[in-house]
Amino acid sequence: MPVNELPRLGIFQNNSTVSIFDLVEAASGLCRIVWIIGWAPDSPPARVLSRFGDVADVTGMTDSEIAKHLATFNLSGLAVFNDPPLMVAAGVAEALNLRFHSPSTAEVLSDKFLQRRALRDASVAVPGFAAVRRSSPDADVPFPAVLKPRAGAGARDTFLVRSARDVVDALNRCDPDEEFILEEWLPDRATTQTLSANVVSVESITRDGNVDHLMVTGRFPYAPPFRDSGGFLPSDLEQSDWNDVCALAGRAILAAGIRDGVIHTEIKMTPSGPRVVEINGRLGGGVSKLIERIGGPSLNGWVMRLALGDDVGPLPTFDQSLVSFFHFVVAPLNAVAFEAISGLDELTALKAQLGIDDIHVNVQPGQGVSTQQTSFTAYVVRIDGVVSSHQELAATLSAIDDTLTVTWAYS
């Protein structure tokens, strides 16, 4: 079908989401993309995006003006691939009668405090939590605790705090008007697992309120304080744990009021059982590539098809005997700039032996580094690959650590 005759899908795009090429590949033969830009300050230039579809620049528009403008594009669906546009997309979808999260669900997905409350009200076990801000830092939450923005993403302004004094100090370093959530820190359970920090994510497909779980991804231990350092598929959970986390994700998704879309739920295995860390109303970062590497479909494409109301049929199958992974090298907490990296040639020479497909260096010598942004945009090196077992993956990670040496400038 000529591209002009394909259904039009609006995608809220900025510079910290899935790459343009990946989205264009997923949309090929499926839909014509209408790139919605200007809703965030970090939009790619319209000139660039216009080579890959239509562009709707909504800079300076109110939500109702955005909906009115987008109505002229004859959209058949809306999709997001990161959290910031959830609210505006939900408002547009409601105005244009498109399939998406309702505004009230988008609010729950965008606000960690409201999300915790929705889960607790639905009897989903959650850690103790409270809303705090600089002007009212006191809360009845046991320490240690995690302080993070109610509407944050990645590791921005996220702190492990051990006392009320720590809370005050941390809030004094942040935007004085920003609202935070203080949440009881969840300990790791004792485990024999070697790869995971007991955090997993469940990718679920929700269709008209029916939830199916596609896969459980293991997450590598966080870089301090809580930065992503990558993940692997499938996770190394035992089958009974697998069943438990999927059941918990399903209850959490329904508690949040989600009816449609691909949902990413992060769960921590604690001594008291699995606990929801967060529900995200979109596909998890890096997950589409993980499943594609072991023979699964493009989940970016599935997001698009679900948004368009397509019948995606039964859940896809993929090779469970392989383990795909992505691994981030991120800056230490007190680093201010990247200076140099050595060992890249040696690691490249070992690619086939270690199951590495891609190595991507994301910085240049002298470039400043941020430990406040999500690892998906602020990583220094990203390594992707496929191995034949979790034991082999542990060996590959060890070899990467032994081979690469990064030097930093410190404050």
């Binding site: 510079n15 790459s19 090429f21 990946d22 264009v24 790619p44 080579r51 890959f52 490249t348 240049q364």
Partner: protein
């Protein structure tokens, strides 16, 4: 080295923000391994279109097209760009 290769290296030098000089790369060096970001790869695509006066068709709008100097040259050659070795 062909004129096409030289022009591709010039495009990379101006748009790719690589860790190494474009002239130090081999034909099959993986540009993503030496620092080509997703965003920069799109800029490289546009700069190639401007430099060679072509428009990449949808079938070539993929990350792999811009993976190496060789893959970029092959894509351009498939669009009719050709010249002799220097």
């Amino acid at each position: 080295m062909s004129q096409i290769d030289l022009r591709i290296r010039n495009v990379l030098e101006g748009n790719a923000r690589l860790l190494v000089a474009a002239n130090a790369l081999n034909d099959d060096s993986d540009l993503y391994e030496v620092g080509l970001s997703s965003h920069a790869s799109v800029n490289v695509m546009l700069a190639c279109e401007d430099e060679f006066g072509v428009e990449f068709p949808e079938s070539l709008l993929r990350k792999s097209t811009f993976q190496s100097i060789g893959s970029i040259r092959r894509a351009l050659e498939s669009l009719g760009i050709a010249d002799g070795a220097e």
